[in-house]
């Protein structure tokens, strides 16, 4: 291979084709980057060695096994293991393709550099450049592996399950197999007609109402208290601030279970207190009747959440430059004008990303609902769907998964939640500074 590589760019096609032919081949043959080439080639060799296994796993992913009623349960092929393994293998194939593309790009880049410099970098320099790229790879490898196994594969799995009939009682491995069913689950849940789609519509609507109202009440509740504490000029304002942050400090599991007991319809202390004061004559079913239970959820969530937004608003007001207030004062603005046309709009503008984040957080706010009401009270479709009047989509997912073993429906809901939330997340991402400045 002593031929001289033309430095006028005419060999670009040749380099590209060679590197496409086998990973790292162009590095070794033409570019004299031997170590890099060998590393790339090693990746491809390993991949080829595993090819038969990979193909087997992918075929299993497509068929998900066939019913084998004649052999013992333990020996039957497990559709769910097939599904997981198949997705894992697929993600490895994707990684391999990415590595392949990178190797071709790297070869082309090396050639371009050669065309400019007219000579190859020394072996020492080329090894140094590998250790230079080695650091980012080593730094990212742990998170990529962890994310792949515990976040990406589970998510892809969930999406896949939405298109299967993986559910009790007839399709639970290993005794029975699971099959692909296309859009049937989506039709069950949003097609209308059945208890399931009725339940889904009801819960989806309540989830949105819940997310909107709980974000709205906590945000403005916190903002109003923050403004009042700041403007009142009361000496012990910091003391009140500490009191108001307490609900945020104690874990939700604890506070919500306490509230659940206090609000208990028959022997809860809230009702007993109100009756002792003669304010009510018979117990109020705080968590017992659908509409009242929903209202209670919003109020208790306000109790738990306004402290956070109060802190946020106070912090923002303190961080807003004092020059602004000074300038307004010099221009003759009254304290009220400063408050309504400077402080509040500014705080609202600055905390907008947190409002969006809080909305998405509330859509997924498992803890408050699950520990406060457990989704109860029951409604018309509860016997089939297990979902009560205060259940939101995530708590329903939990019930579908843990109690009813309707994994297919749970996955459909997860997919739908994602479709609703993703735009909000991308919106809040676009409002960040680093995105606007294009440094990402």
């Amino acid at each position: 291979m002593a031929q001289i590589l033309p430095a006028n760019g005419s060999a670009g096609e040749k380099i590209k084709l060679t590197s496409l032919l086998f990973m790292g081949l162009a590095h070794i043959l033409y570019l004299k980057e031997y170590l890099k080439g060998i590393l790339f080639a090693a990746i491809e060799i390993v991949f080829i060695c595993f090819c038969p296994a990979i193909v087997r796993k992918i075929i299993a992913l497509i068929t998900l096994g066939s019913p084998q009623l004649d052999i013992p349960v333990k020996m039957r092929s497990n559709s769910i293991f097939m599904l997981i393994d198949g997705i894992l293998v697929l993600s490895l194939v994707v990684l391999f393709i990415v590595a392949y593309v990178l190797s071709v790009q790297s070869a082309e880049k090396s050639y371009k550099r050669y065309c400019v410099l007219k000579h190859f970098p020394s072996q020492k320099a080329s090894i140094e450049s590998i250790s230079g790229t080695g650091f980012p790879i080593a730094g990212l490898a742990p998170i990529i592996v962890l994310l792949l196994i515990f976040v990406v594969v589970p998510l892809v799995f969930s999406v896949a399950v939405a298109f299967t009939n993986y559910s009790a009682p007839d399709h639970i491995p290993p005794a029975k197999t699971v099959d692909w069913v296309g859009l049937a689950n989506f039709k069950d849940l949003i097609g209308g007609g059945s208890n399931w789609s009725h339940g889904f519509g009801r819960i989806a609507l309540w989830t949105l109402v819940w997310a909107f109202l709980s974000t709205f009440t906590c945000y403005f509740g916190g903002l109003i208290i923050a403004v009042m504490l700041r403007e009142s000029k009361i000496k012990i304002a910091p003391f009140f601030r500490i009191i108001y942050i307490l609900p945020y400090a104690v874990p939700v599991v604890i506070t919500m279970l306490v509230w659940q007991n206090l609000l208990n319809g028959t022997f809860g202390t809230v009702n007993r207190t109100l009756m002792a004061f003669g304010l009510i004559s018979k117990p109020i079913p705080w968590l017992g009747s659908p509409l009242l239970a929903q209202a209670t959820c919003i109020i208790i969530n306000l109790w738990a959440g306004f402290g956070y937004f109060m802190l946020l608003a106070m912090g923002t007001m303190t961080a807003v430059s004092n020059d602004l207030y000074e300038a307004a004062k010099i221009d003759g603005a009254s304290p009220r004008q400063i408050l309504t046309s400077i402080t509040v709009p500014l705080v609202m503008y600055q905390t907008m990303p947190q409002i969006i984040m809080s909305f998405t957080h509330n859509i997924n706010n498992f803890g408050i609902i699950f520990f406060l009401t457990g989704g109860n009270p029951a409604t018309a479709d509860s016997t089939t769907t297990m979902a009560g009047a205060t259940d939101i989509l995530v708590t329903w997912i939990y019930k579908l998964t843990i109690t009813l073993l309707k994994y297919n429906y749970a996955s459909v809901i997860a997919v739908l939640i994602f479709v609703v939330i993703a735009p909000f997340a991308i919106l809040s991402f676009r409002s960040t500074k680093s995105y606007k400045e294009g440094t990402v």
Partner: protein, 280 residues
Amino acid sequence: MTNYKTGQSITRTLLMIFFIILSLFVIYPLVYLVSSSFTPGNSIADIDIKPFAKGFTTAHFTYIFHKTDYKIWFLNTLQVAAVTTVVTMFVTALSAYVFSRFTFPLKKHLLMSLLILQIFPSFVGMIAIYVILLRVGGFDTLWGLELVYIAGNIPYNCWMVKSYLDTIPRSLDEAARIDGASHFLIFRKIIMPVARPIMIFLGITSFTGPWMDFIFPKMILRSADKQTLALGLFSFVTDKKNDFTLFSAGSLLIAIPFVIFFIFTQKAMMMSMGAAAVKE
């Protein structure tokens, strides 16, 4: 002038009354949490509507320590929280440093996928995590739970730390690079000390998370000696039995450190939350 002053003092009094009423509403359930953990009896029905009116006992605390697995739950949770925190801090800081300081192919795609992954509540993939843990032998083990926590928190934390590191001037590390310092040395000796505030914040959030989580321990941990506090406390007040006083006593022991911690850090938290919001 006097009119204005009386008007102001009336408003101030009204505000004061409002703040006091609000405080009562806020501490109402917390007062019962404290009082019922010292009240004889079991269920919420045994608690008098006047806090502390039905006598005083420390029997529930004795019971919790001697008759239940509270100590095991506590140590398990502590272990999970500690391991999660240490690994999360190291792994997240390192990758955030790479994202902030290096340019490499696919960087933009990786960052975008972190953002998208962060939207999913991590228990959406619950069934898959269950099966994967079964396959790698991590089912019903604390390290399985730790892995799930560590991985689940990466997307959000990575973004958070990366954004913070972006605000640290590059001239700092470039000067060191010219002097021949290695990447890891720069990371350890230059970036980490400057990034201390965000690392402390990361440490706190990763440490407090496992104390409150319920879903994953419920799914992953089965044996009696592998339970965490959230599971244990929840088991006191299931539908079948209502040991509200025991639950209160156990919860109080957890709540107190949390409350003390928040009281000491709330001012600093307020400042940093405000500063972060204004910076964006």
